[in-house]
Symmetry: C2
């Protein structure tokens, strides 16, 4: 990841419709900056990515990136949220899932996101940044705590709801590591439906199983 740290020389920039963008802006421009940010963080990692590089890929002025998203940390936070949007959209669309089916539902959402290469690639890249950079880890932690664990926690009626949600998330994060990052066999090639069937009892145990001791 270190080899991509040097910004491309100015001569390699493609033409940027700077005036039109600065004047226009709007949702399309914001989305293009966000897509560029995801690509930059994915390709270079958190440390080497820059507002300047994101602006170049999006073909807008750097000031517009700051205008829409603020600091590099804030751009990264927005990129994490955008990358995880399919998962969190799923989470927010199903307020009617009863606690005893949360394991099935959470495990299903996880595999729908991770089995689809389009949604997997950006999250994988951003997860890697979070593992090697403390700032990125903080942003990723805030996202996991607030979005994923938070939404599960509020559906559980238990004083230890948050710890339960985190242990359930840990089961799925570990599968992410061994199946998609380290690609340990036979887990990496196992049928996703079989894995859901094997994982649900463990995930559900954490969410609603008897307390320890």
């Amino acid at each position: 990841m270190t080899s991509g740290a040097t910004p491309a020389p100015a001569g390699r920039r493609r033409g940027r419709p700077r005036r039109a963008e600065a004047a226009g802006g709007g949702p399309a421009t914001r989305d293009r900056i966000l897509a560029a940010a995801r690509a930059e963080f994915a390709e270079r990692g958190y440390d080497a990515a820059s507002i300047r590089g994101i602006a170049r890929v999006a073909e807008v002025d750097q000031a517009l990136v700051h205008h829409y998203f603020g600091t590099k940390e804030q751009v990264f936070g927005a990129a994490v949220a955008a990358a995880a949007a399919p998962a969190t959209d799923n989470l927010s669309l199903r307020p009617d899932v009863p606690p005893e089916q949360l394991g099935q539902w959470l495990t299903g959402v996880f595999f729908r996101v991770w089995e689809n290469p389009v949604t997997r690639a950006p999250i994988l890249a951003i997860a890697r940044s979070a593992i090697t950079n403390d700032t990125a880890a903080g942003i990723f932690r805030t996202f996991i705590a607030g979005q994923l664990v938070g939404r599960i926690t509020e559906r559980l009626d238990a004083p230890d709801a948050r710890l339960r949600a985190e242990l359930a998330a840990a089961q799925l994060v570990g599968v992410m590591m061994l199946r998609y990052i380290l690609r340990v066999e036979p887990l990496a090639s196992a049928d996703a439906e079989e894995l859901v069937a094997r994982l649900v009892p463990a995930v559900q145990h954490h969410l609603t199983g008897p307390p320890p001791g």
Copy 2:
């Protein structure tokens, strides 16, 4: 991780008792090289670490590093094995654990290694390298598959033993991620004994629970 990529200039080297080492060698020298390798991989990551840097820290000639360990990949593999030695020593010391207690035993070994800062630090550093570098990931994968999962697998009398062992390992790897790397609360500060009690049923489910469907 990019800032440490440049090797220190030769002028910064401390005196190296090159002749004594080349002549002497032996277990003490090998151990010192291994400790230097662990420190180098931990500090710089896999990409930036070099045989030259390891030799400098160990105060031996580069040729001696090659003599004992071979290539950079092989040094890394040896460093992974050394970092995980407390875990694998525990694994190899207990051939009498019955299958229905393997969950308790594996979870206990995991927390003994990870709750001790002396054993945690090198594994953490090496795990981070494995997440961001494909070569390091391959070495780490071989280690997990061969040492950890392999030893569990051979104690389970089931055709799907390896997949079971990997799903159990995934639960613990996920805890490693959320508790020690991302430090998500309350998991990061929870009492280790309480976590063992909460995790054992999930780990044991994977190892000896009913097959899916």
